[in-house]
């Protein structure tokens, strides 16, 4: 009932006649072209400059950024970060490039591969890509990367490959479409810094409901 009425009112308002082919073609063309609109100059840089911009913008958004030369340094860097912060528990995504990390045998760190639960202290996930324009991480859901890991734990640790950093959001959409075979994952997260709120007297407080801290482990050589 409502549906027909709503469409009827819209079409009456737009004075749509019997022959509507032109409008339909216009719409289909736009949907299929997926053309970019204006992309700011800031987002159109050579790769090295993109990485540099990503670092600056991520830090500006209050993320912590730890640079690593190789992925084989990741586990030690994560262990170091956690122990410095007195955290002894880590929940991991089951993603391929988080497997077979060289965790130290002596560490008392408790590692689990599962979805997040209330009370989790820290999670480690893998970013699909980084977007330099605003220092934004893109992550998406999947069997090996549950979304709760990105939001429930107090500390969110993210591994980001420098080679995956793009300049503009538009490049990220293209890569996402290519990687997912055109099918959107249930959830796509664009994350820029840790959780915050200014709802009390407009004074910014970090750590509202999502992670209080966001640590990005930027892996250079991949």
């Amino acid at each position: 009932m409502s549906r027909a009425e709503i469409f009827n009112r819209i079409r009456t308002g737009l004075r749509i006649g019997a022959d509507d082919r032109q409008r339909q073609e216009t719409v289909q063309q736009r949907l299929q072209a997926r053309a970019a609109n204006l992309i700011p100059q800031r987002a159109q840089l050579p790769q090295a400059a993109c990485i540099q911009l990503f670092i600056e913008m991520a830090i500006e958004s209050a993320a912590e950024l730890i640079e690593l030369r190789h992925r084989n340094e990741l586990s030690a860097a994560v262990e170091h970060w956690l122990s410095e912060n007195g955290i002894s528990q880590l929940v991991l995504a089951r993603e391929e490039n988080l497997q077979n990390l060289d965790w130290s045998a002596s560490s008392s760190l408790v590692r689990e591969e599962r979805v997040a639960q209330a009370g989790d202290e820290a999670s480690l996930t893998n970013a699909f890509c980084g977007i330099a324009e605003t220092g934004t991480l893109m992550l998406h859901s999947g069997p090996d990367s549950p979304t709760t890991l990105n939001f429930l734990p107090d500390n969110h640790l993210v591994a980001l490959s420098a080679s995956s950093i793009v300049g503009a959001y538009e490049e990220a959409w293209q890569q996402l479409r290519a990687a997912s075979g055109g099918e959107m994952p249930r959830t796509v997260n664009m994350i820029t810094g840790p959780s915050r709120s200014a709802d009390i007297e407009q004074k910014l407080q970090m750590g509202a409901h999502g992670p209080r801290r966001l640590a990005i482990f930027l892996i250079r050589d991949e």
Binding site: I10, P194, D199
Partner: protein, 467 residues
């Protein structure tokens, strides 16, 4: 929500004399406009993006039916359900039915102005479903049994002490005046709710036709927990929020946060597409999109069509000197400020909201900062046209304009009117050059002096010189 828009003047009087509110409004003025200006200055393409956004929105509205059909098709293809609701009543019932089908007791909610518009919370509560607001601002308001005064910063009218008091009362903990402690308290309290809720309700900033996705743009992360943890995710949104593609959504994202809070980007921009996939280990099993019309389709093809471009950034109210003086609750319904003064009469009737489009000096600041270039003063003036046509303009104003226009259309008589008024004011003003009290001009002289004319009218003097 009770409609109190026709009490605007009385509410404004109270607001102007409420020292605490005025202090809170000072926080707004000191924050948003400067931050927006700084963000705009960092992006040289900002104005060009605004032009494109305006044009794209116009294109969308001209093809609104087709993009909505495409969106619906793709939500269904992804395993979701779309519900079309012509009225607020339809929307409330639809949402309750979904909740009942899940046997839901508690519903967590992300911030959503459309659910305020349809007065969802009161309705759910009356029907045995407990809504829990999870956005910090909305949570504070819910504890206080209060309503948002701003579409982005809902609790902007409250002070730290108001929040501390509300938390102390409801959380049964020692009263703290440290915002960090208060936020921590809210975090702890709501954590349990996120995990135990049966249904999560969020709004949507945009609906993407190409993919059937919805997106929320937030800073706290509460919306993400709301939509990821419960078994059922309901998106409540409105029909004008559809955009063609992810690329088109991106155009608006570049404008939204900068216009709203002056951030480069909101912390969490999250796309939801259908329910969880077969192998996914978390995410909702059911995905519903409730699309609310509530008067929007009636704006298509009218002088108010341009209002459908609005992306709810709040820049208009952040920069409005009237909003800044009286705050959002004075507007007496859900949407305050300039955008509210255009939208509210459409949704609750001009006869119930006529004071709103009149409460503007037409200074034009709102249009100057609008990311989609909505000519808000022009649209407010169109409401005044409607009032005049329907004889809703107050009688005194109507006859005043009528008498004045009678003279203005007769130059010789108008000269005489100017001549006699000029003489009268000069006599009253005497040599002091100004008048402190003038009968029938209390609106002016209660608060300011009236400068007296400095001599005979120009037309008189010009004639004298020519002859």
């Amino acid at each position: 929500m009770e409609i109190r828009s026709q009490e605007f003047k009385k509410s404004a009087h109270i607001a102007l004399h409420d020292a605490k509110l005025q202090r809170a409004l000072g926080n707004l003025k000191a924050g948003f406009p400067g931050k927006r200006a700084a963000a705009v200055a960092r992006l040289p393409e900002f104005d060009a993006l605004r032009d494109q956004a305006r044009d794209l929105k116009n294109h969308i509205i001209e093809h609104l039916d087709l993009y909505l059909e495409e969106f619906e098709k793709n939500v269904i293809a992804q395993g979701g359900t779309v519900h079309w609701c012509r009225t607020a009543e339809d929307a409330r019932k639809t949402i309750l039915e979904i909740c009942r089908a899940q046997d839901a007791k508690t519903v967590t909610k992300g911030k959503s102005m459309v659910t305020e518009e349809i007065a969802l919370n009161e309705y759910l509560e009356a029907n045995g479903v407990t809504p829990v607001e999870t956005d910090l601002g909305e949570y504070i308001l819910q504890l206080r049994n209060d309503h948002p005064s701003h579409i982005v910063a809902p609790a902007i009218h409250l002070t730290l002490d108001d929040v501390a008091e509300a938390f102390h009362e409801h959380h049964k903990r020692p009263k703290s005046d440290d915002p960090a402690v208060l936020m921590q308290e809210a975090r702890e309290m709501l954590r349990k709710q996120f995990v135990s809720a049966d249904v999560g309700i969020t709004g949507a900033n945009f609906l993407i036709a190409e993919t059937g996705s919805t997106i929320i743009c937030t800073n706290e992360g509460n919306g993400d927990l709301t939509q990821t943890l419960p078994k059922t995710h309901i998106v409540v949104s409105s029909i004008e929020k559809v955009v063609p593609t992810l690329e088109d959504m991106t155009l608006f994202l570049r404008l939204l946060a900068r216009s709203a809070t002056g951030q480069e980007f909101t912390v969490y921009n999250t796309l939801s597409t259908g329910p969880r996939r077969q192998a996914d280990r978390d995410g909702p099993e059911n995905f519903h999109v409730v699309l609310v019309d509530n008067g929007r389709s009636d704006m298509v093809g009218t002088e108010f069509q341009e209002m459908l471009r609005c992306i709810r950034c709040s820049a208009c109210m952040n920069h409005c000197p009237v909003y800044g003086a009286v705050g959002g609750q004075t507007y007496g319904w859900v949407y305050p400020g300039p955008m509210g003064s255009v939208l509210t009469p459409q949704m609750i009737g001009i006869e119930n909201a006529g004071l709103l489009p009149n409460a503007s000096t037409f200074c034009g600041k709102c249009e100057e900062v609008c990311p989609v270039r909505i000519p808000l003063p022009k649209l407010m003036r169109h409401w005044r046209d409607k009032e005049w046509e329907k004889h809703l303009t107050p009688a005194a104003a109507r006859s005043g304009i009528g008498i004045w226009a009678f003279f203005a259309k007769r130059p010789a008589l108008y000269r005489m009117l100017s001549w006699s008024s000029n003489l009268f004011l000069r006599l009253v003003g005497g040599k002091r050059g100004r008048i402190r009290k003038l009968p029938l001009a209390g609106g002016w002289t209660d608060f300011r002096d009236m400068p007296a004319p400095s001599g005979k009218t120009f037309m008189q003097q010009w004639q004298e010189r020519k002859s």
